[in-house]
Amino acid sequence: MLIVERHVGLLPVVDDHNFLVGVVALQDLLSLELPDFVNMISEVDFVHDFGAVETIRPEPHLLDKPVSTLMQPTISVDEECGLLRAYALMLQHQLLDLPIVTKEGKLAGLASRVDIGAAILSRWQSLNASQP
């Protein structure tokens, strides 16, 4: 599985010409079998042992679903996009990963919140270093 191999939380979906058409998110894959109750109650701090939930195994047919049933429309930015705009978009839309596309809309790569946050920090650092 690509998510496990690459350790990313988001899989971009592209068509035959490498145009970005959507994304499949790790959390949507997990919620296929993860019970929904976590979203129903206001807090789970008092549940120290998730008991039977820990041992849940998804039914095979759930994992055989075609990608199109899970795919969501996505927010992406082009390669020239500023770091802060990218970071603001991620915060606003609660995204952990952001697909990057070329001017034509073809997939160029994937940036995580950590990638972008670290880039902003390192730019600040270099700015500070150049202006003592």
Binding site: F37, M40, S42, F46, V47, D49, G51, A52, T55
Partner: protein, 429 residues
Amino acid sequence: MMGAVLSSLLFLATLGLIFSEKIHRTIIAFAGAILMVGLGLLFGFYSEGQAIAAIDFNTLGLLLGMMILVSLLEPTGFFQYLAVWAGRLSRGKPVWLLILLGTVTTVLSMFLDNVTTVVLMAPITILISEVLGVSPLPYLMAEALLSDTGGAATLLGDPPNILIASAAGFSFNDFLTHALPVVLVAWLTALLLLRYMFRRELSVPPVHPDAIMKMDLAEILTDNGTATRVLIVLGGALIVFFFHKILNISSAFIALSAAAVGLVWVRPDPAVVLKRVEWSVLVFFTALFVMVGGIEATGVLNIVVSVLKKASTISPMLFGVILIWLVAAISAVVDNVPVTIALIPIIQGLGSAGMNMNPLWWALIFGAGLGGNGTIIGSTANIVVAGLSERTRTPITSSLWNRRGLPVMLATCLVASLLYILAYPLYAR
């Protein structure tokens, strides 16, 4: 005459649209009420003043007061505390879990609105069953069914009771002597029947019975201070309710006073507390009052009353039993609030035509309270629980409800009818 025809048509069309559930009932009722007043002004059968006078502020005040208290108590975690406490007490044994969660639901629904009760209980029930590794189905069904059953027991339990108490002048204590004993027997019947019908699901031992013991009760109560204060206020209000007839104050005044004391004592952000009040329900009630007031003003209900009066050559006791089943059958498919609001002026009409109203009021209370269990759409509590169950692996379907819910409705109505007949002199007094 024109007014009578138009207002009846408008009322029937509004009810039809409410029952079709295509548009939210509050929006339909609100528009219907405005149309009713408009028609009344146009054809001269209903004035704005009459419309305002038709609103039962005692019902609205009582509902608002209780809603404010619940919205103060809700964020403290008190309701989750009760559910997890029941779960721990059961030690994860399915039958005990059913009995204890069912009892907590019943007791809560005696004092809270049924929908509020299941909205608070169902999610934590799903959590408990998932963690234990058992199907949440029997517990969720039991909570929906028992919240409707328990609601019939007290003046505060269910909006129809508030409406009827307000119209008939019944006190809090009248319900304790007339409704509570019947509901206790009906509750026991329902619980035994559920235990029998779900015997297969309940015989499966939980995978992780000890997981529930690891839920920390102390951590659930996020705001101990507020919970204690609101519970003291609620307890105080309850004591005053016992004496409201002697003190000659309305139930709305008690509930609103309790809400005021609670707000002064807890001093929350009022915007947050008032946001949790179910304004949609209050607007729906107000609109229905205005609509029924319009029909009343045209005299249509007198025609219904005179027809019923002719039919009432049968014994009053039989009339009452028929009323229980008739109201239960209607409440099984439609919301019991519009049914009750429409029937109240008819019973009052029968009363002014010389019939003893008291047995009819109690029949209405039992029918409206227990009938909602008949189908999955019979009460809002059922709809809410079924909706939440769709997010589990064992959704409650309409056909499942007909097999497991309908028998409970029939059994509890039968119990209520038998006790009604046995204690008829009490209800006729």
